[in-house]
Amino acid sequence: MSDFEVGTVGAPAGGPGPGPAALAQLKKVKKQKVLLMGKSGSGKSSMRSIIFSNYVAKDTRRLGATIDIDLSHVKFLGNLTLNLWDCGGQEAFMENYLSQQRSHVFSNVGVLIYVFDIKSGEWERDLSTYVNIISALVQYSRDAQVFVLIHKMDLVARNHRETDFEAAVTAVKRKTAEACAIVRRLRLDTTTTDPSSSSSQTTLTSPHQQQQQQQPNSSSETTTTQELDIDVQYFATSIWDQSLYKAWASIIHDLVPNLPIIETQLASLGQAIDADEILLFERTSFLVVSKWTSQEGDNNPYGDRFERMSNILKAWKHTCSSFTGTPRNAEQFSDFEYRMGTSFSMFVTKFTTNTFILVCLPPGEARFNSAKLNVAAARPWFKYLDGPVVQPTGMPGTSQMYGMAGPGGYGGYSTMGESSGAGVGET
């Protein structure tokens, strides 16, 4: 973790102004330390295997208990590496993380994912471990984002799911506040000169973090009490349905580098081909990286359709894999077309090296065929965004690529380089 730089955490959006420096910044591989914690047997490794290694839910029964910390580097898109710390949840390990390995485990954390087993027999004990973990996290990585997954919801009868989830969330919320209070008290005791690196980090990253978190930080002072409240997002999950994809898509959503640019590009593509909806999936996990929906597409009553698409397509990949006998992680299909009479048309196709794109269009053969061609033509401007680190070959080349985006493409730059109004396209 020595190469982990605080400055890259908030990466592209708040990066230095435009010009070559900004471009280099765009292509920098971003690393994120992601802690996956929770009681032993709560399903941390199972969900990790499903999302990143394409396990089928029932295959996770074969997984053994995680011993100590299982470190894995997941390459996500071309320019984001998730350092996934899958922390074994047995009590002895937990104590170890909180004592000897405390600074090693909890410093420079980008994201903490804490998994609760809804059917755990010892809820109170789980909560007190959670309090310890959160206080350690707040101590070493003030700006980490926290996601709490209430897991194994499939074991709860359908009509009780909502109430049970609400009850769990209320309990966890109370404990989170408790953890913050503990740290607050510690801070007040030790007063000012806090030797841990956390204070300096906070001042460095807070401008970026401000955009990513809803909760406002005051950027200068770190020891004021009220800002110690951390913002936690809660999800009810199960490995047996799409809820897992919903949670993980929101987890990775904020980590994706260059997101504002991708989103603007997607919007201009969508308008150009007259689409109703465009989804961009990461290649192996099939998590939704970015999406765009037209005004008409917004009327779609299925609010859960994004994670549902991930789930459908991933299940389909499993079917293909057992049909063709190719490995689970291999790319299973390259093209999919579907025209549903006068209702809609859609296609899913391999887009850039690391992404698949789903485009939903109004019906019509001509519209469909031209959209397919246009999406193929649009590949180059996205390739640049998620490709591996490549040295930019001077401005003319890049501006030419963006030229294909039409006016929308330029707009993308001016939104990202917020400190100055000058867009790259103007150079």
């Binding site: 009327n299 009553p301 459908i312 293909c320 390259s334 093209d335 549903m340 939903c360 109004p362 053969e365």
Partner: protein, 348 residues
Amino acid sequence: MGCMAHTGMNNRSGKSSISSVVFHKLPAAETLYMESTARIQKDSLNSFMEFQVWDFPGQIDIFNNPSYSFDLDAIFGEVGALIWVIDALDDYSDSLNRLNMTAMHLSRSYPHITIEVLVHKIDSLTDDYRSEILKDVELRTLDELSDMGYENMPISFHLTSIYDHSIFEAFSKVIQKLIPRLGQLEAMLTSLCRTCRFEKAYLFDVNTKIYIASDSTPEDTTSYVICSDYVDVIIDLTEVYGSWARSAEWRNRLEGEPFSQPLEEQVGCEWAESVMVLSDSQRPIMLREVDRFLALVAIMKEGSYDKMAQINMNVDVVVKGLTEFFEITRAGEKSRVGLQDMVVGPQN
């Protein structure tokens, strides 16, 4: 108008779960929460043909019941197949005895009924053990029946589980026996496969994922699985993007410049058409809806995506043929008697 009756000895052998999974698309895991059936339940299934499914609770003995007298003619008069569910995880001797009794009874009074025995709940068993149980059930039933002088009974055996595709395959075979002029359908599909060089083609009932016909190449579970999952993908996508009404402005805009045509004119096909190219040796899989209930799904030869235009024309012709076929058989259905005879035909 085919009819099926489900029975089984044990109360927990899984009859109602089967009905819910196959006919009501209940996820297999959800069947855990189902209550046991206490009464005879009738379910009708609106599909390309009309099916009625009767669910008999395990504890009622319909032939020999002192407290009720069942109108057997009303129940069995129109039934085409009797499905008998045996719990493979349980001691099934009693169930087999009652199956034999029922089979003899039926063969005397309603000889047109075929008996389909589902050796159920095999998901947790190893392959070896599965075939052992199947052999055991088959042997014990047929031996006993032949001892009693009943030879060549229309009885068949299937290994099934609701946790995989086996239950759908078994039902496919049951339904195929109830379809009039199945041979014609198969011939159409076979000739399509030959012309377009398809590896395998199925005609699916979309709602149940039962295939009502396939081409004449040998059966192959993996092909069935991928085709039926493909139907699932299409159904799911249609639900999300196709099941809600778009606004009038949307339609007006689409019908205006630059196309200036009604939407109906802009599309190539009024029903769903789809193709998916697998990365492995570039093998496409195609799907085409025939009507509201049926879809043609085929695994194509590698690299034939480029010839999609020609293939679509051939598929058009077959779809037209299938539509005519069902118009004729549906018209024939009105004279019920004829149909019954045909169902019985192959078995006697």
